[in-house]
Symmetry: C2
Amino acid sequence: MPVLLPPPHASDVLPVKGVRWGVVQAGVKKVNRKDVSVCALDAGTVVDAVFTQNRFCAAPVRVCQQHIAAGLGVRALAINTGNANAGTGAAGFLHALSMTQTAASALGIKSEQVLPFSTGVILEPLPIDRVNAGIAAACASLQSDAWLDAAIGIMTTDTQPKAVSRQCVIDGHTVTVTGIAKGAGMIRPNMATMLGFVATDAAIAPALMQGLAQRMADQSFNRVTVDGDTSTNDSFVVIATGQAGHQPVTNWAEAPALLEALLAVSQFLAHAIVRDGEGATKFITIRVAGGGNTEEWLKVAYAGAHSPLVKTAFFASDPNLGRILAAIGYAGIADLHVDHVNVHLDDVHVASNGGIHPSYTEASGALVMAKPEITIGIDLGRGSCAETVWTCDFSHDYVTINADYRS
Amino acid sequence: MPVLLPPPHASDVLPVKGVRWGVVQAGVKKVNRKDVSVCALDAGTVVDAVFTQNRFCAAPVRVCQQHIAAGLGVRALAINTGNANAGTGAAGFLHALSMTQTAASALGIKSEQVLPFSTGVILEPLPIDRVNAGIAAACASLQSDAWLDAAIGIMTTDTQPKAVSRQCVIDGHTVTVTGIAKGAGMIRPNMATMLGFVATDAAIAPALMQGLAQRMADQSFNRVTVDGDTSTNDSFVVIATGQAGHQPVTNWAEAPALLEALLAVSQFLAHAIVRDGEGATKFITIRVAGGGNTEEWLKVAYAGAHSPLVKTAFFASDPNLGRILAAIGYAGIADLHVDHVNVHLDDVHVASNGGIHPSYTEASGALVMAKPEITIGIDLGRGSCAETVWTCDFSHDYVTINADYRS
């Protein structure tokens, strides 16, 4: 059960002009499961993307990078679950290329205009025949209102699909932003989430698109962590079809509501990944203020977010807050003055002057820990930098899910 | 049940001339539990120690550092479990001092000659009256053959005491090295383990003692990790009473067998901590070779040792080895060529050329994964550096133990 994340209804996930999805059951790994999806994009669409920084990046990630560099524009995405096509060597690279060729010939475009994505088990050969059969079938069943199907079609250990829409108005034209994402474990995106796709029918000038995916990821997918494991396949794609009817946006000052909607959609999806984190029972916001620089608060935020002891204490709803202090202490700030550090749990002042805050009581801590959403506020007392990372707790179910994932 | 770690017998844990222990039940946190220990050292003993690098280091650690700096020599250790006296501010510091005063007055020595140690829950006030009553009682019951009692007296979540002895001969004199340690969770020592004490009756020149604890820790306690959490209280003390009868050793070339025995005892204890790691069912050696420099192999070894996905796969005996490749890939070596990386599980060649090794079969991987002791061999193909880190798997019981620790 995800933490405070109601399942999306089809009617809430709005079509985006110029985008169609085909989603099929191809039996990649399991039967009776939607596991191959194709997204077709009308001519004139502009795209920006970011990918994993894992050195063992998967074959499809390398093909995506080459195809984007080819500069012919992106007209389709071809996606499979059930197998990550990672750690698969030269054969894996040819398989990823083959996925793009299959989609290109079905859609009458060039293979360099197709981006391939795979997610699932690493180090196993991709069953390319089943994947390609699925791609051909998906290309034959494209629909504009299949976003929720696509959100379902890219799931692996996710317990529910992740999809959301926002709308805004530009020059009297209604603009839609719709996004889907998948991911629940092996989540510490280092560019983007495992798979995330956000599309808008807004017209965005190509120059303004450049770096947009990075900017959106930095405020969403790059600030969440479930278990600290960065996937080999992380990919995040932003799509603008330009069919909403307004003049192209060339500067964000012209359309602040659009930028806000894009960020809101990616942040919703990033949070959804944490809320549906493997075994998660709590959604935890770690807000670190008073850092001397970005690196400092990142170290502290991630030390807390990755500490198995902090995460199991939250699972137990146990205000064993010394574990948070310990994590701050070992985060790697060599000259940290612990007497200047303040820690809050929601509004409860927990620690100051290197110890327990005088007003803190176990009962007040326990009251916060019992909630499904909790904010840990850490002020390092060293400067004015502040940032936020989102994570979840660490439960029996995380172990169960990951001990059983392949069986 | 620790992994292949038979409980020590009292007869295997040899007394060390010049060292006596008193161990009592003081009810620090729980009743009917040995929880306060005093170690008395004869005059002429030399001592070296290393402590946690956690910035939230506990009050007793700060007192230890001040007392060692005072230079009056160390004549006693006073230790409690049940409370770490960490994150306890100014009151905690006075409590740690008070522990040394109590031991000093009972033993007729100066308080600066006493080192205090605490381990247990962080951020709760130390019940100093019960601790001091325990210290006085322990000082009244000193015995030379109580090492195993002391190993029991310093346990927290350990499931069994950790103690070992080695002997060697120097100039015809038998020399004994005996050590004890505690620790099972919050284990990623960054100087030493939570608590480790190794004593010998060998005579070691004070100049040679300097840095000995660091050298021993670097080859033992600083190479193990259970959950990546560095404790606030890590302390490791090496003691040489000089009563074995030989001339003082002034150079390790004079007594290689002694150095070997000291290293063997600390390595045994460090491994014992991992074997008894909270919830551990497997003892895992990660040997990284071919690193360009020490930092590189450390990054890779700890990425593997801390990955919850790698650790749960070992718990499940599931050769889901892509998780190991993913961890190598995100370890932080920006210019790593994955085609040069080779991975072995014991003798089974798992990965080469960025993918599965041609001879690898799932059955051969499963055979190794089923064992209680496994070596992951990683060759980065970048240089000649090689090092080893020891860790354990990640099981349901880890979550259970740490969700219930305070309740």
